[in-house]
């Protein structure tokens, strides 16, 4: 029997899947979409995501430790579900690869302009591949190490406090924004990642009955990191300026000047790779599970490479920032739909199963 994930590791895992490349753009996204004091929206969206997590917790409460597949196939035969699994696997692996590509494209705005995108991208994919073929316990242990290697970066925000001013927040709330649904979805995608926990049920140490709390803990860590970053951004930049800067968090990092190292941002930015890697790896891992269930005849060894390659070729032509944005939006939208839809669907299935059972008994 393989080892199980402890609640502590689970919390970190959830945080690491959630926080990713969107953080770079988040303050600007909020300023453009929600206007002045847009950072408040982080709390609101986080609350909505919290409800989403609650839905997932309900699935777990009704069926302790049972995997998504077992729940689904209790009602619908596996053969019928197979195309659905494969579609889900495809969406998630494409989404993961788009996130990776987004990170590389942003990297290339800063450094390595002359290196080929494909080369850098392949390096990330190779790293992701090596991690995703490991079992989930190893991935979660790696994540914990990555977490401690990256979480300190949040404290760099202390450096910006002397330059921040409450006056720049302005007393106006949500003025001058576009208030588009699109913006709302974009901010929601920044919180995505918690839905992976649906597939983790069988791998979690079920001896601790309250383990699901750590999903909330992970979500709270994400919320705290996002809120702090955004509130500092809104106090540090003036509002009109924030709307113009592509990656406000990069500007924040690059303003940090330490006597010892000049240009600390090149170090910090590269450490961000670890966060991205976990996001990519966990989505691929879930996609791998889905594909395995959808096509059980396929050799397990080939699942990860196939997913990576297929997604790689589908997104091959997307190689500039402006082309990537609509792709990310569409797949982000799809991923958000899955995050909300999947637990709802599972609850529905459970309800129907319970109805059926009652009828049989009655």
């Amino acid at each position: 029997m393989s080892e199980k994930i402890a609640p502590f590791h689970l919390a970190i895992l959830i945080y690491m899947i959630q926080s990713g490349v969107t953080l770079y753009k988040l303050p600007r996204m909020l300023a453009v979409n929600f206007g002045t004091n847009g950072w408040i929206m982080v709390l609101i969206v986080s609350f909505v995501a919290g409800i989403n997590i609650f839905l997932i917790s309900l699935v777990n409460r009704f069926r302790k430790g049972e995997s998504v597949f077992e729940i689904m196939e209790g009602l619908i035969p596996r053969k019928v579900m197979a195309p659905f699994y494969i579609l889900l696997a495809l969406i998630w692996s494409i989404f993961a690869l788009l996130v990776g590509k987004d990170y590389i494209l942003i990297t290339q705005v800063l450094t390595f302009q002359n290196s080929s995108l494909l080369l850098l991208y392949s390096i990330v994919l190779i790293l992701a591949f090596y991690l995703v073929v490991k079992d989930i316990y190893t991935i979660s242990k790696t994540t914990t190490i990555f977490f401690f290697l990256t979480i300190w970066m949040t404290f760099l925000l202390i450096y910006h406090i002397p330059y921040s001013s409450i006056m720049r927040l302005t007393p106006f709330i949500f003025k001058e924004g576009t208030h588009s649904i699109r913006g709302l979805i974009e901010v929601y995608t920044a919180f995505l990642g918690f839905e992976i926990v649906l597939f983790l049920f069988p791998y979690i140490d079920q001896k601790k009955p309250k383990w699901f709390l750590s999903v909330y803990v992970g979500h709270i860590i994400t919320t705290v990191v996002y809120t702090l970053t955004c509130i500092v951004s809104f106090m540090y930049f003036s509002f009109e300026q924030l709307k113009l800067i592509s990656f406000p968090v990069l500007n924040l990092i690059s303003y940090v000047e330490i006597e010892l190292i000049e240009r600390i941002e090149s170090l910090v930015f590269n450490l961000f790779l670890m966060k991205i890697l976990i996001t990519v790896v966990m989505y691929l891992w879930a996609a791998k599970l889905l594909l395995h269930r959808g096509m059980p005849s396929m050799n397990e060894k080939w699942l990860a490479p196939i997913l990576i390659l297929v997604a790689f070729f589908i997104t091959l032509r997307v190689d500039v920032v402006y082309e990537l944005a609509p792709w990310l939006l569409i797949f982000g939208f799809a991923a958000a739909g899955i995050a909300i839809g999947l637990p709802v669907l599972l609850l529905f299935v459970l309800w129907v199963r319970r109805l059926g059972r009652r009828r049989r008994h009655g």
Partner: protein, 365 residues
């Protein structure tokens, strides 16, 4: 064995990727300073001067200065490149100098180009020259002019004589509708670079300047000052009395008073605390009463100076003190958007209240 080859290959891929974007330092002209001036040249309206250390020979410490005429900053960099055998890079710029004429016509184009350029950090200092920017760069007193100005700015802004202004501060205040940017003002006098005061901007245009003493007082009105000093000259019975006031802290408060929906007036309150370290006056300063008198003298003097500054700001319709931010804070969104921000500072009455506490008089009575 298989695994070892795999790891080796992977390491090679990772490490060799670093060799792809290589830059040989001898082949680079690493610009340390750049200046922008307005010209009437037919080929372009921007005269750009850049200085970079000559790294080709190990012993020499000299600066190379090249100059070109272009229409934009990036075009200028291209043209500069063709004037030297090295490749021009701008990742190590310490400061940019804006010539007086250029600054008066608006500096937005250069500032936003700097912001867009990923090589240029937002810590690059922005300074204004009182005549031509190239003049400052072409000063031959010190070998490395770029870091010289950088250090000079650091010492002076630590002493709260001049504002701390880099690209970040400048564009932050430029884009904020409640404050206008300011920048240090330099001049070349007798072949030396001299800091002469603070340049005041209205939006992105340089409109007026304050001298050094005024800019010290501007700092008092602008933010919390941790440590600075002022020499106060007072005419007194045919003589001039010099009082040197060394303040440890100075706090500033801005109160906006409203009458109905309108802003009635603004009150700036500055509370200072420090010691008197020199007094050329006749009377001794030993009793509490005398100290109170002196406190009031100093306060009145600073208040007059501050009122002069506010007068200058009102004349130029520039809001260097960020009073607009405080007004914004006290209004509703509709009231703020309806406000005529261009004439805001000119029309709102501003009063200053200075409160001086002399905590001691140094080592003697």
């Amino acid at each position: 064995m298989d695994r070892r080859i795999m790891i080796g290959g992977l390491l090679a891929i990772l490490m060799l990727a670093g060799c792809n974007d290589q830059k040989v330092i001898e082949d680079l002209a690493i610009i340390s300073m750049m200046s922008f001036d307005q010209t009437d040249d037919p080929t372009g309206d921007l005269k750009v001067t850049a200085s970079f250390p000559n790294l080709t020979s190990e012993t020499s410490n000299e600066e190379q200065i090249i100059e070109t005429i272009a229409n934009s900053k990036k075009e200028a960099e291209d043209l500069l490149s063709s004037k030297t055998k090295q490749q021009v890079v701008n990742g190590q710029i310490h400061s940019v100098i804006l010539g007086e004429r250029f600054a008066r016509n608006g500096v937005k184009s250069v500032i936003s180009s700097m912001e867009r350029d990923q090589e240029i950090g937002s810590q690059v200092k922005v300074v204004v020259a009182d005549r031509e920017g190239t003049e400052i760069i072409r000063t031959e007193v010190v070998p490395d002019i770029g870091s010289y100005i950088d250090k000079m700015l650091k010492t002076e802004s630590d002493k709260f004589t001049i504002p701390e202004t880099d690209i970040y501060h400048f564009s932050r205040d430029y884009y904020d509708d409640g404050i206008d940017p300011i920048a240090p003002l330099f001049s070349k006098q007798n072949g030396r670079i001299v800091l002469v005061g603070t340049a005041l901007f209205r939006n992105d245009r340089y409109v007026d300047h304050l001298d050094l003493i005024q800019s010290k007082i501007l700092m008092l009105l602008l933010k919390k000052v941790e440590r600075s000093e002022l020499t106060i000259k007072m005419a007194q019975e045919e003589e001039i009395r010099n009082v040197h006031f060394d303040y440890v802290t100075s706090h500033r408060n801005i109160d906006v008073y409203k009458k109905g929906r309108e802003v009635d007036h603004i009150k700036i309150i500055v509370k200072m605390r420090g010691s008197v370290l020199e007094d050329t006056g006749e009377e001794s300063i030993s009793s509490a009463k005398e100290i109170h008198q002196l406190e009031q003298l100093v306060a009145r003097h600073i208040k007059h100076k501050a009122e002069d500054i506010i007068e200058i700001l009102k004349e130029n319709q520039t809001d260097s003190l960020g009073l607009g931010q405080y007004i914004r804070q006290s209004l509703s969104y509709e009231e703020w958007t309806e406000l005529d921000k261009e004439r805001l500072i000119e029309t709102v009455p501003v009063s200053v209240e200075i409160d001086v506490t002399i905590k001691d008089t140094g080592m003697s009575q």
